[in-house]
Amino acid sequence: MKKWYDLFDRDTKALIYGMQIKAVQRMLDFDYACGRKTPSVAAIINPSGSNGFSKVFFGKGEILVPVYKNLNEAAKKHSDADVLINFASFRSAYRVTMDALKIKSLGTFAIIAEGIPERRTKEIIAEAKKLKKNIIGPATVGGLKAGAFKIGNAGGMIDNIIESKLHRPGSVAYVSKSGGMSNELNNIIGRNSDGVYEGVAIGGDRYPGSDFMDHLVRYEANPEVKMLVLLGEVGGSDEYEIVKALKEKKIKKPLVAWCIGTCAKMFKAEVQFGHAGALAKGEAETASAKNAALKKAGAIVPVSFDDFDKKINETYKKLVKKGIIKERKDPEKKPVIPMDYAWAVKMGLIRKETGMVSSISDERGEELKYGDILISDVFKKNLGLGGVISQLWFGRQMQDYAHKFIETTLIIVAEHGPAVSGAHNTIVAARAGKDLISSLVSGLLTIGPRFGGAIDGAAQMFYSAYKRGLTPHQFVDEMKKKEINIQGIGHKIKSLENPDMRVVIVKKYAKKHFKKTPLLDYALKVEQITTKKRSNLILNVDGCIGICFADLLFTCGKFSKEEAEKYIDMGALNGLFVLGRSIGLIGHFLDQKQLKQGLYRHAWDDICYLK
């Protein structure tokens, strides 16, 4: 049975205000290490969510913790929970706590937030006093009762908890202002005695919800506690309440005490240390004055923090010698909590076969990388769209003229009127009320051997002939024999005399900037032959781009011959058309929407109905 001096025991259950899954997991890991049969978290309150469940580990298995939107509902459904761990922010912690104080089933409230206005905290304290309820905090990590219950994140990582023997009760109870130092206290006490019985960090605010004496009185009354430890601080006068209690023999158990902040005298001007309350108003509030007063009243006070461990150890040994503490031997075997997968990977303890490989980019670091180039360097080095495509498609940077060439091709293939199949399909889809992506994809899906896809085909065909050492004549003859159209040759209306300006631009660029253009030269000779048959059998824009791009890959010096061949075989060059034309297709989609075009229906008189 819980006595008045127990805030927690091995059956204590808590409600957690705030979606703090990590803290909940840490509490449950602690429970499991303590050998608790039931988890200490009854439910979570997530004010910005909806009712449901959250999945967490309890030992090796997983359990569902109920989640409620409303605190009152959670408390009603889980009336066995008497602790509220309030993770609400400094803005809302006041409101949440004041409402929660009204709930009968709740008796102890831990307030984690730092930065609650002092006046609001004082209101909370007054209300709690009136209702005889316990507050821990604000501005604290909380506290824990070894082997029984811990508040949220108190005690740190589970291996530290087990290292400091917090999974089972010792004989030493402490109270501290600092939450950050509570972990160090667990360590110091764990190493210099039979361990912590209970520890509370009351928080660094000027007006803590419970003060040192609130807890020391409980510890004094609790027969399991044999020894007390206090870590006080410069500022405030709560330590003098302890001095009074020592003098009045209200505290009789040995108390090892130290107030931090003795260095304050080193500072000429006022210095506010980390805690809001850590500023001395007058001599009595200095750490040195408090240490001296505590010592005078009978507390065991070291000369400096450096002897704190020794004083704890000496005091403990005296109690053992007197027979007040019976030393127990801890079992050799410490409890084992399965390690979190992510942590084990981080620590290099386990490895896992990957299911995927990728060399394109890396978003895991502080800054996104394209290949091995930081996104900020992409701009600093002015890589442009061409440079980015080169990096993401070919995993390398080419020369500026090459990057520019990529951009040139994209501009050239970006659009070719509403009549071509891609644009037509996009328009039809858009007019059918489809969204941008559906309409775009509808157009893109028409790209293939007959529409747009000749870039690859041309590069592959011409390169194959060139590589096999066929003369242009032999090549044309071979294709004729096989009855295959040469990809990249032929235009609906253009001819040598009436050239396609797009082809002119691409050709001119390649001739001007590329180191060599063997494949283009070869293709132009082929064109000489084919145009003799018919004047419109010219090297068309797809063919010209494909062939020039192949020339670029082979001659820029950034690819081995094998690499260049591989990219051509993979169909990389069609990517240029798909990417470029997407620009135009999106334009068509927006155009149709903008013009509010209704559903498209092909005209009857444009269809030849066959009997």
Binding site: E118, I125, G156, E184, G204, F267, A269, A278
Partner: protein, 425 residues
């Protein structure tokens, strides 16, 4: 975040703007005061505030200096011309008040109010455990003496209000009858103002009543800055000046700026740039304890800095922080060599190896300087991934051939201090 002192000007401005509302319109607070800082053009001031040219004035620095009268930092009963000259003479000058050196850069000018010393009264409202307390004394001024001992006190428990007649009865016994009503309304309003604006402390010493107006002659106040989200609109555009003499050095200002850019905490105060013992400590509580221990072991005079990094700063911030400390400590050589304490308690969740990465990078960069200054480094830390962090430190020492002693949680937190200073283990 805590109780922070505000400028007299800002406190008086808030009072004159808002007090009427809190006194039910029964009391007005004089609204004549002007702020002067190094950017103020004194020549243009009389145009904006014509009363400056017409009245006799008071001028004094407004930067949290206590007992200005005793340090001859108040000019009384002077025309504006004299005031301007007096301020010009002092603006941007360094002075010494008691032990503290600091630069004057902020003044307040008010009308000089001829009155008899017997008219001066004292009032103070302060936050105490369980509620608030009003102190009143029917005499005030510089010679009021120990008000703590002699003032009338009224404790107001949390959540309770006070009525004017209760104030009259409990605090104003020794006030002349004709002033009781106005002072009672003033104090009751002051309390409302104090509560509503998240003040933690207001001391007005003295105030006088002139022509039915309350004139606060001197005022000191602290605001609870965590109340910002409730009261910022009423506070207006105020600043929290640093305590007098706490002007930041270049490096301190750099770290303060860095601190404002991260959710983590980075603090640096240089105590003695020629000190032998430098600290680079993780955690607010632990950093104080390290400074304590150095001082308690008798090396306070050698303690060069106080500072901390906490809240899981990333490696880059830790690097910049460490670099700043290393740079400061390798400026002036000491024949005895120097000590760097890289300390910390057992971290809750901070990845020790990760934060050490930044420190290691800085040490690497400063290796030649650290060697030239004969720096010895002592490390102690625990917490997540500490072993990897400590190993990295150990390896660094061997690699760059610099003495780095490394300890983990099995060593008492401050033991490295006694090892470093006294060679005792």
């Amino acid at each position: 975040m805590a109780q922070r002192a505000i400028r007299e000007y800002d406190g008086k401005k808030m009072m004159s703007d808002l007090m009427g509302g809190y006194c039910g319109g029964k009391v007005a607070v004089s609204g004549k005061f002007v702020k002067v800082n190094s950017e103020t053009d004194l020549k243009k001031l009389t145009k904006k505030y014509p009363w400056l040219a017409k009245e006799k004035l008071v001028a004094k620095p407004d930067q949290l200096i206590k007992r200005r009268g005793k340090s001859k930092l108040i000019l009384l009963n002077a025309p504006f011309k004299e005031v301007a000259a007096w301020i010009n003479q002092r603006m941007n000058k360094e002075i010494k008040v008691q032990e503290v050196k600091g630069k004057l850069d902020n003044f307040i000018i008010e009308p000089f109010l001829p009155h008899d010393e017997s008219e001066e009264q004292y009032v103070c409202v302060q936050s105490v455990v369980g509620g608030d307390e009003i102190l009143f004394y029917h005499q005030g001024g510089v010679n009021v003496g120990d008000v703590d001992a002699k003032a009338e006190r009224l404790f107001i428990p949390m959540g309770e209000k006070i009525a004017s007649d209760e104030i009259e009865k409990k605090l104003l016994k020794n006030v002349p009858e004709n002033l009781k009503k106005i002072i009672a309304s003033f104090i009751s309003g002051l309390f409302g103002f104090y509560v509503d604006l998240n003040y933690a402390y207001i001391e007005i010493n003295p105030f006088v009543i002139k022509d039915g107006k309350v004139c606060p002659l001197d005022m000191a106040a602290k605001i609870d800055d965590t109340g910002e989200f409730e009261s910022a609109v009423k506070w207006g555009n105020i600043d929290f000046p640093p305590p007098f003499g706490r002007t930041l050095g270049k490096e301190e200002a750099f770290i303060k700026d860095l601190d404002s850019k991260t959710g983590a905490s980075l603090k640096l105060t240089v105590l003695n740039p020629e000190g032998k013992v430098w600290t680079l400590v993780a955690g607010g509580g632990a950093s104080v304890i390290y400074a304590d221990t150095i001082s308690d072991l008798g090396y306070g005079a050698e303690l060069a800095n106080y500072g901390e990094y906490s809240g899981n700063p990333d490696a880059e911030f830790t690097y910049l922080y460490a670099k700043t400390v290393l740079d400061l400590m390798t400026r002036k050589k000491s024949s005895k060599g120097k000590i760097l304490i890289i300390g910390g308690g057992i971290a809750n969740f901070t990845d020790v190896a990760k934060t050490f990465k930044g420190i290691i990078k800085a040490i690497r960069e400063y290796t030649p300087k650290l060697k030239a200054h004969k720096v010895k480094i002592y490390v102690r830390r625990g917490g997540p991934n500490y072993q990897e962090g400590l190993d990295a430190m150990k390896n660094l020492g061997e690699e760059i051939n610099l003495p780095i002693e490394v300890y983990g949680p099995q060593s008492h937190m401050t033991r490295i201090v006694s090892i470093a200073l006294k060679g005792k283990k």
